[in-house]
């Protein structure tokens, strides 16, 4: 028997419709509900991280005015802020949230291939969040080791949270990895095996390519965090010495001997650098789709974009030691990693060119999502260029552990993905709820966020060049730092408060538009991809009604010459394409730049 594609089979196995409120919205196996659960949880825990960053900023901006945060608490705030932002917000939101929502809809599947495991993935993620947050309530509080958790200080007395805090952090990370793996197996297998008829890999929207590749990266890289986490946990609890060397701590010999802190750094960054791309690739993919829809143009260089995503994925596994230039490594080793780091910039820059070339002579609609797209491209170029500086050993040495680093990584993996996330929420909210987000509030939110974040992070580069060190509670009377640095720090803190407040506009918009937004209809942006062609909006359980969609074309048939409309949905057969009067267009060839 010829193999029947999964997508072509009847899906009665996951189509017994959920009956009660609990099975429909809480204990749900529907990818759309799970996506929303993931997203809301990630945003909520992200707000905790935002509050933590404000408490740090108040201390840094007005060191003598506020005394509610002690040096120990400052370290705890830094650590929890960084870890939550990178893992529990961005990774969870982009893959657990966007991945869950978009993959089945964009591929034309009824759901993920393993819905039960998908549901478990969310609940284990939620558990990991609770375990993480519970460390605020134990004696000693959360760990203050920095989000990199470097031993030996993460397991040595003197660091805040060395008893329970670090243990809860590691347990929470282990749980997160388990949750991510269950989700990731779903995303990869669904993309590989549950696409509808006609949806070849190369007809997939770039958002799916980005999420798919990022998931593969995550599946291969998170094990490195798991390995380092397990070994660190044993060092902390069982007294082993995988990482912890012999130390004199407060006049006492530690119980450890012989461990290798550098081993930890290698393992951590073997995960840590791909992690940057686990966040960035979904953002790249999503941006490519937003830019095409809102500029009414096919994406420039689709194949090149796919290849770039794949090659970035591969190269991202051989650049990790650029985070360790100051660890005393062999200069040739550093040279190797500087070279790979500059090489990975090539496909990355290519993507930027292609976004700009897509905009070039496009019919740019300055919708709210488009504003965020442009903000992202701008910001990513900014952060990318400072990355080229830091990739070179000689330039990185003096800048390492300074505020230049903080400015760089916030631009490239703080602000950039956050802009993408906002843009995508404005773009897909109408599909998720059936209503548009308020346009005017969206514009206010965009400009406040863009200018506000630049007011925070651009000056940080200058502070770094002045020599301001990262992860310091207060600078005191450090002689080489001029007083003006303090004034700048105060300004940054005010900008941070402003940015945080302006996010309330967004949250208000989310809540208000749910009931009062303009009705959106099924396809408010006139987009081609499958999620906009569902019979109902928001899509119901099973997504497609009785018959699965059939795909006839790629995802980017915008402004095709001869076609009467400026978009041709992927589900439209050539003979059905309405054409201009007198045109000989046969509905087959796209308009490829």
């Amino acid at each position: 028997m010829a193999y029947v594609a999964i997508a072509d089979r009847d899906h009665e196995q996951h189509l017994h419709d959920p009956q009660s409120f609990v099975t429909k919205y809480i204990w749900s196996q529907d990818h759309k509900i799970i996506a929303i659960q993931y997203s809301l949880t990630a945003i909520s825990v992200g707000l905790v991280a935002l509050v933590l960053s404000l408490s740090m900023r108040l201390q840094l901006g007005f060191p003598d005015t506020f005394s509610f945060i002690t040096p120990g608490e400052y370290y705890q705030a830094i650590t929890m802020h960084g870890m939550i932002m990178v893992i529990y917000l961005l990774t969870a939101l982009l893959l657990g949230g966007f991945g869950n929502y978009l993959i089945p809809l964009m591929c034309g599947a009824r759901d993920m291939v393993f819905p039960y495991m998908n549901m478990l993935s969310y609940w284990v993620y939620l558990l990991s969040v609770f375990v993480l947050l519970s460390s605020f309530f134990i004696s000693g509080g959360p760990t203050g080791a920095g989000w990199t958790l470097y031993p030996p200080q993460s397991v040595m007395p003197g660091t805040p949270g060395v008893g329970g805090g670090i243990v809860l952090m590691l347990i929470s990370l282990v749980l997160f990895i388990v949750a991510f793996t269950m989700g990731g197996l779903n995303y990869v297998t669904t993309v590989l095996q549950a696409r509808c008829r006609g949806m070849t890999m190369m007809r997939m929207p770039l958002a799916v390519w980005g999420i798919f590749t990022a998931t593969v990266l995550g599946l291969l890289a998170f094990p490195a965090l798991l390995v380092s986490g397990i070994m660190l946990l044993l060092d902390a609890l069982a007294g082993t010495s995988f990482f912890a060397p012999a130390m004199l701590s407060m006049g006492e010999e530690s119980r450890h001997a012989g461990g290798s802190p550098i081993l930890f750094q290698h393992l951590f960054w073997f995960f840590g650098h791909p992690e940057v791309y686990i966040v960035a690739l979904p953002a790249f993919g999503v941006i490519s789709d937003l830019v095409a829809v809102h500029a009414r143009k096919n994406i420039f260089g689709y194949r090149m974009m796919v290849w770039a995503i794949l090659s970035i994925g591969v190269i991202s596994f051989v650049v990790w030691a650029h985070h360790m230039y100051v660890s005393g490594m062999n200069p040739y080793f550093g040279f190797f990693f500087a070279t790979t780091t500059l090489i990975i910039a090539i496909p990355t820059a290519l993507k930027v060119y292609n976004w700009v070339l897509t905009l070039w002579r496009g019919n740019i609609h300055l919708t709210v999502p488009m504003l965020f797209v442009i903000g992202f491209i701008f910001t990513f170029i900014n952060g990318g260029i400072t990355g080229l500086f830091l990739g070179n050993v000689a330039v990185d040495m003096p800048l390492s552990d300074s505020y230049f680093i903080v400015g760089h990584f916030h631009m490239v993996m703080g602000v950039s993905p956050i802009l993408v996330i906002f843009g995508s929420i404005y773009h897909w909210y109408p599909k998720m709820t059936g209503r548009m987000l308020d346009d005017r509030l969206g514009r206010i939110h965009f400009w406040c966020t863009l200018f506000g974040t630049y007011a925070i992070y651009l000056p940080m580069h200058y502070l770094g060049i002045l020599g301001l060190p990262r992860r310091y509670y207060a600078l005191g009377d450090t002689s080489f730092i001029p007083d003006s640095a303090q004034a700048m720090n105060a300004g940054i803190s005010i900008a941070a408060l402003f940015v945080a407040l302006s996010q309330m506009i967004f949250l208000f918009n989310l809540a208000w538009s749910r009931k009062h937004g303009k009705p959106a209809g099924g396809n408010p942006w006139n987009a081609t991809t499958l999620e906009w062609q569902t019979p109902q909006t928001p899509p119901v359980h099973g997504n497609w009604g009785k018959d699965l969609p059939v795909v006839y074309r790629w995802a980017y048939d915008y402004s095709v010459p001869g076609a009467a409309q400026d978009f041709i949905p992927q589900t439209m057969a050539p003979e059905d394409v309405p054409r201009d009067v007198g045109s000989t267009y046969d509905g087959r060839e796209g308009a490829h730049a």
């Binding site: 594609a5 999964i6 997508a7 591929c107 034309g108 599947a109 291939v113 393993f114 793996t181 990731g184 197996l185 990869v188 297998t189 993309v191 590989l192 095996q193 549950a194 696409r195 509808c196 008829r197 006609g198 070849t200 890999m201 190369m202 007809r203 599946l219 291969l220 094990p223 490195a224 798991l226 390995v227 397990i230 070994m231 044993l234 069982a238 007294g239 082993t240 010495s241 995988f242 119980r255 012989g258 461990g259 290798s260 081993l263 393992l267 689709y302 194949r303 290849w307 699965l548 006839y552 074309r553 790629w554 041709i568 057969a573 050539p574 509905g587 087959r588 060839e589 796209g590 490829h592």
Partner: protein, 204 residues
């Protein structure tokens, strides 16, 4: 190289062309098997990283080689038997004979549990000999490797027991041969992993 060919396709041409264009399932196998292969990729990454850390750490001067308990050889044999029984069960399931399926599944379960018991016993021997985890990194790797490997086997046992239950309750369930096949693949894989870990333990 079908993959390369696919990546060279020009999707903007020939809209409407459906000839030779199927839906998903490029691989032509059930999703459960693809899911398992992806998972084996994850586990491979995990154990490779563990192994590399072991190779690096064992070059440090404080490393003291230990003589691993001899029972590990016995355990390895038992795990091999478990793997073989599962393969036989899988073959029997494909040819549709419920009785040997049940027997081989039962044998595989017993061997697997026996293996775990043997590993626990090896721990006891280590502890009795005063070789504690905190004492030396070589000891620590012994406990960690055996524990992480056992955890993976325990996860597999959950599915094996479920298949065993089905083999008794509904021997003609059409999904059963597929599930047993997945278990067999996973067991072979864990056998290989164990061989690697055992080799690393012995060689250092």
């Amino acid at each position: 190289m079908k993959v390369l060919q696919r990546l060279l396709a020009k999707p903007w041409e020939h809209a409407g062309e459906m000839e030779g264009i199927h839906g998903g399932n490029v691989a032509g196998r059930p999703p459960g098997r693809t899911g398992l292969y992806v998972f084996l990729g994850v586990v491979t990454s995990l154990f490779l990283l563990f192994s590399i850390s072991h190779q690096m750490r064992s070059t440090y001067p404080d490393w003291t080689s230990i003589a691993e308990p001899g029972i590990l050889w016995f355990n390895t044999g038992i795990l091999l038997l478990a793997s073989i029984s599962l393969q036989l069960a899988s073959n029997a399931a494909l040819s549709g004979s419920p009785r040997p399926v049940r027997n081989e599944l039962l044998a595989a379960s017993v061997f697997s549990v026996l293996f775990l018991g043997g590993q626990v016993y090896a721990w006891k021997l280590m502890l009795d000999a005063g070789l504690y985890a905190a004492g030396n990194p070589a000891n620590a790797y012994f406990y960690m490797f055996t524990a992480v490997h056992a955890a993976h086997l325990l996860g597999g046992l959950w599915f094996l027991f479920k298949a065993l239950g089905t083999a008794y309750a509904e021997p003609h369930d059409t999904a059963l041969p597929g599930r047993i096949g997945l278990c067999a693949t996973y067991w072979h894989f864990l056998l290989l992993v164990w061989a690697l870990l055992f080799y690393l333990l012995l060689s250092s």
